[in-house]
């Protein structure tokens, strides 16, 4: 216990100390060298804490309430320790990656800046998931926004970056307001806002309050999670952050929203109504389908990944929604299965999405571009990074032998179980949702087949890609570890499902899913051995290889530009879903006067549907218009001002007279 407590304190203290260390040696690289080590140690300690407390079952509690007028408590129950472990693991890998990456990409000042705020950012996330009082939670929640924004701002400055930052901070603040409100709404029914008090009140809330709380929490957390249509900030912010930071934001920060939703849905409000679940399910469907479709249409590597994050959050929401529905229909076993599915996908997405973002970082390190149409043939040039990214792509495509499959299978399974519910609505909706999940899975497979196939395979389409080389060892290590984790979970799911079932049990006591969860751990190892065995056999086939030019219909050679580009690759699917994109296509034939003897033909096709234009812009305009109206009252004429005072006085007097 003492050890656990010590580890936990150190884990929390080190990130705070780091800026103080950096302060004296802002410019000297010697100080900066220390930071990653410290951060790594802190992460290690954090992971150790979770493991220790997990094993002993004792919760290390940090209580700073005596410092502040409001209770500030941190603790590690099952759910928290899962997320803390996730944060620590991913961050540790990211740190290893960042050392070389940041060294190569940034000047002294920027490096110091990033190394100052990275630990604080991680700390804020830890605060959020370990908080055991509303004050602590909101404290961490706001800090998370500030520090992530600081890190995003580290990566240069331009009008449209500023615009993105503005959108990010605004939406985060609005979301935070909603979350705060959802916490405060408990207040009339408790004396304080520690989680224990909230839990105590949660069971006895009047229905309308519970609904209000849940809706506000849903809005607030969905904003952070980037669920469509609240996703506006996500594809704008993640791509413009330094790659390790993008990895953390996409891999971990989004998950704090999932954490919050689980806390509210399963811990604070024990009696969900079915329609809450359907709401979450709907959000999941919309953002998973639209997310992956937008991802398909993207050409910028990191924007593509950002949109795929939206999709994966959608998948997690599908699981959560199912869990809530089962909870509402008193089917605890299936509820906990769906919850396990959602949490499993949370963990998996954290793993492979961090790999993908860091891989994108590696790509930009060597090729200095993220435009997929200029890449190609990188696998031969950077084999380690290529391999790790291949693993990540397979995982995100939900292929068996990789971890993505595990969570998708669980989600399918829970949807299938929907047929056993008493309500016909659930019987129809849940299995159909499985169909949606299947569609999303197929689209994701296509998307990432295109990504890897065009960026890493084939022949380089540009000079940048041709001259690419392998990135330094540290970066490969950082990504490699997580990729290995993906494979490990994919081959031996018990690693993941064991702990998750305990977490689910801690939230839904009566749900026992051991039997449901036992299938995959039995199947996948054997499946793997079979596949690998057959692979070995196939490799054993004696064969002579000869390198020859490819079939070119008799032409002398095919230039690399004649390969299928990512744009073209996704073309069929894009034309199938043209209704979603409403593309505006432009074909220009030069010279214009003789279209039959073109010198150059240029084709542009861009998406015209955008939530910003159709949803957010009008709202903002309305507010600004209102402000201008009010501004007009402020005529610089002192007589008018006096008039305002008199009128106020008179109207108040009249009011009093009337009310008397």
């Amino acid at each position: 216990m003492q050890l656990t407590r010590l580890f936990f304190d150190l884990h929390l203290a080190i990130p705070v100390a780091i800026p103080l260390i950096l302060l004296p040696g802002w410019r000297s690289s010697r100080y900066r060298r220390v930071v990653p080590v410290l951060l790594f140690v802190s992460m290690f300690l954090g992971a150790a804490t979770t493991l220790l407390s997990w094993r002993t079952g004792q919760l290390p509690i940090v209580d700073l309430s005596h410092l502040l007028p409001f209770p500030f408590v941190l603790t590690l129950d099952r759910l928290s320790s899962l997320f803390v472990f996730l944060i620590c693991a991913v961050t540790a890998a990211t740190t290893v990656f960042s050392v070389a990456y940041i060294e190569r990409h940034y000047g002294t000042g920027q490096q110091a800046w990033i190394w100052t705020f990275l630990p604080l950012f991680v700390l804020s996330m830890v605060l959020v998931v370990t908080a055991a009082s509303a004050f602590a939670f909101l404290f961490g929640w706001e800090l998370m926004t500030v520090f992530s924004a600081a890190l995003v701002a580290a990566d240069g400055d331009s009008p449209e970056r500023r615009h993105n930052l503005l959108i990010y901070l605004l939406m985060m603040h609005a979301g935070a307001a909603a979350v705060a409100a959802s916490f405060f709404l408990f207040l009339p029914y408790t004396h304080g806002l520690t989680f224990t008090q909230i839990r105590a009140a949660g069971g006895t809330l009047p229905g309308r309050t519970a609904i209000a709380i849940y809706l506000l929490a849903f809005l607030g957390f969905s904003t952070k999670a980037g669920v469509i249509p609240l996703h506006l900030w996500l594809p704008r912010t993640h791509p413009i952050a330094p790659s390790p930071v993008s990895a953390l934001m996409s891999g971990v920060m989004l998950k704090t929203a999932v954490y919050g939703l689980v806390r509210f849905g399963f811990d604070f409000l024990p009696h969900p109504a079915a329609w809450w679940g359907y709401l979450v399910l709907l959000a999941g469907v919309v953002s998973s389908v639209l997310g992956i479709l937008y991802a398909l249409a993207e050409r910028d590597l990191k924007r593509l990944l950002a949109y795929s994050s939206v999709e994966n959050i959608g998948i997690i929401y599908l699981g959560l929604g199912a869990a809530l529905i089962f909870q509402a229909y008193q089917a605890p076993m299936w509820a906990s299965l769906a919850l396990v599915a959602a949490l499993a996908h949370t963990v998996n997405h954290a793993l492979f999405k961090s790999v993908l973002f860091m891989g994108a970082g590696s790509v930009s390190t060597t090729t200095h571009t993220l435009n997929l149409d200029e890449l190609g043939g990188l696998f031969a040039r950077m084999p380690y990074t290529g391999a790790t990214l291949l693993v990540a792509c397979c995982s995100i495509a939900g292929l068996p032998l990789f971890n993505g499959f595990v969570s998708e299978w669980l989600t399918f399974r829970s949807f299938l179980a929907g047929a056993t519910l008493p309500s016909p609505v659930a019987q129809i909706i849940l299995p159909l949702a499985a169909g949606v999940l299947a569609l999303v899975g197929g689209l994701a497979a296509a998307c990432f087949m295109g990504l890897f196939g065009t960026a890493f395979l084939g022949r380089p389409r540009g000079v940048a890609a041709k001259s690419a080389g392998e990135v330094p060892f540290g970066m490969c290590l950082g990504t490699g570890v997580l990729a290995l984790a993906c494979v490990a979970v994919g081959v031996y799911p018990a690693l993941l499902l064991g702990p998750l079932s305990l977490v689910a049990a801690s939230l839904i006591p009566s749900g026992n899913v051991a039997q449901e969860l036992s299938l995959l751990p039995r199947v996948l190892p054997i499946l793997t051995t079979c596949v690998v065995g057959i692979l070995l056999l196939a490799m054993a086939i004696p064969r002579a290889t000869r390198v020859t030019a490819i079939w070119a219909c008799g032409l002398p050679t095919l230039s690399p530009r004649m390969q299928y580009t990512p744009t073209v690759f996704s073309k069929p699917l894009r034309s199938v879903f043209a209704a979603v994109y409403r593309p505006n296509r432009k074909i220009e034939v030069l010279p214009a006067d003789q279209p039959y003897f073109p010198v150059a033909v240029s084709y542009r096709s861009e998406r015209t549907t955008s939530f910003e234009q159709s949803l957010y812009r009008p709202a903002v305009d309305a507010i600004v218009a209102a402000a201008n109206q009010v501004r007009r009252l402020h005529t610089g004429n002192v007589q008018m001002y006096l008039l305002y005072i008199f009128l106020t006085l008179v109207s108040l007097l009249a009011l009093v007279k009337v009310l008397r």
Partner: protein, 314 residues
């Protein structure tokens, strides 16, 4: 012990006999088209020849180019171990969850696409892109159809579903089964690249899908691909048989039972082969952009099947 032996035998039968089915379809088509078809054992000869030939690899392609066919073969052969054919069991029966089956097949397809893109030929790229589209759109109807059946059977394991179907009376085939079968059949056509979605015998690049994907492959790699394709076709057909018409499948491991099961199975296969042949020689291939509509119909049917499952139980 005997069960294991029987399972191994039926697995080998499936894997080794698969090329024969393709030959059979080709032969029937030839007959219909008044051509003198090829010898039924021709595919084996081709495979042997290809295995002996050398492997031609495009310049600056990565090792993945040669790895892809192996992955395809591996996944397909594993998938073959999941479906029951003659016996009411399979080599990996316990793992025969239909979601697993679907995704194992997807694994192979994914790598095949990557291999095609690695070939850096524009035809291969085109093939890969179209294959990606079709498989992406086929995923939903496939799973919906399977889910409908699974819901009726109340379990996800294929062998279990088969057993449940056998326990039902032959005549009360529910509407769910009919609709689900329609959906799955359409998907099967798309998945195995037969007419009207794809033409396995075409040589006109612009209409090719699967053939375009494998355009750059030769020698042992091509052999693996062809073999895997054959096995996949057989697996899908056996799945249809198992789910919708398993009658006659050997329940107990007596010699007679097995013989009956084998006979029934082969018979059904032959019937299906003839149906496919007739279809392929009677209807024209769809235009590329008609395929999504085709699959859309399949999806609608699948969804319908699922809805029926809920309605029929009340």
């Amino acid at each position: 012990m005997t069960t294991a032996a029987a399972n191994v035998l039926q697995y080998l039968l499936l894997v080794l006999g698969a090329p024969l089915l393709r030959a059979l379809i080709a032969r029937v088509k030839a007959v219909i088209q008044r051509r003198q078809g090829t010898n039924l054992w021709r595919p084996y000869a081709d495979l042997l020849k290809l295995f002996r030939k050398e492997d031609l690899v495009p310049p600056d392609s990565s090792p993945l180019f040669r790895f892809a066919p192996m992955m395809l073969a591996a996944s397909t052969f594993v998938a073959a171990a999941l479906v029951p054919t003659v016996n009411q069991s399979a080599l990996l029966a316990f793992a025969g969850d239909f979601i697993v089956l679907v995704y194992v097949l997807a694994l192979g397809r994914f790598f095949m696409g990557l291999g095609a893109l690695d070939g850096s030929s524009s035809f291969a790229g085109m093939g890969a892109s179209r294959e990606a589209m079709i498989s992406a759109l086929a995923e939903a109807p496939l799973l919906l159809g399977l889910i409908a059946v699974a819901i009726l059977a109340g379990q996800g394991n294929i062998v279990e579903i088969v057993r449940w179907t056998l326990s039902q009376n032959f005549f009360d085939v529910s509407a769910v089964h009919a609709v689900a079968f329609a959906a799955l059949a359409m998907v099967a056509i798309a998945e195995t690249g037969r007419m009207p979605v794809d033409n396995p015998t075409t040589h006109l690049e612009l209409t090719m899908i699967h053939e375009a994907m494998v355009l750059e492959y030769s020698g042992p790699s091509l052999a693996l691909i062809e073999w895997a394709q054959a096995v996949k076709l057989t697996v899908v057909l056996s799945l249809l048989i198992g789910l919708f018409a398993p009658w006659g499948m050997a329940a107990n491991l007596t010699l007679a039972g097995l013989a009956l099961g084998l006979g029934a199975y082969l018979l059904k296969l032959v019937v299906l082969a003839i149906v496919i042949a007739v279809l392929e020689s009677s209807i024209a291939k769809l235009r590329m952009y008609m395929v999504p509509e085709f699959l859309g119909i399949a999806t609608a049917l699948g969804a319908l099947a699922v809805v029926f499952t809920a309605l029929l139980r009340r």
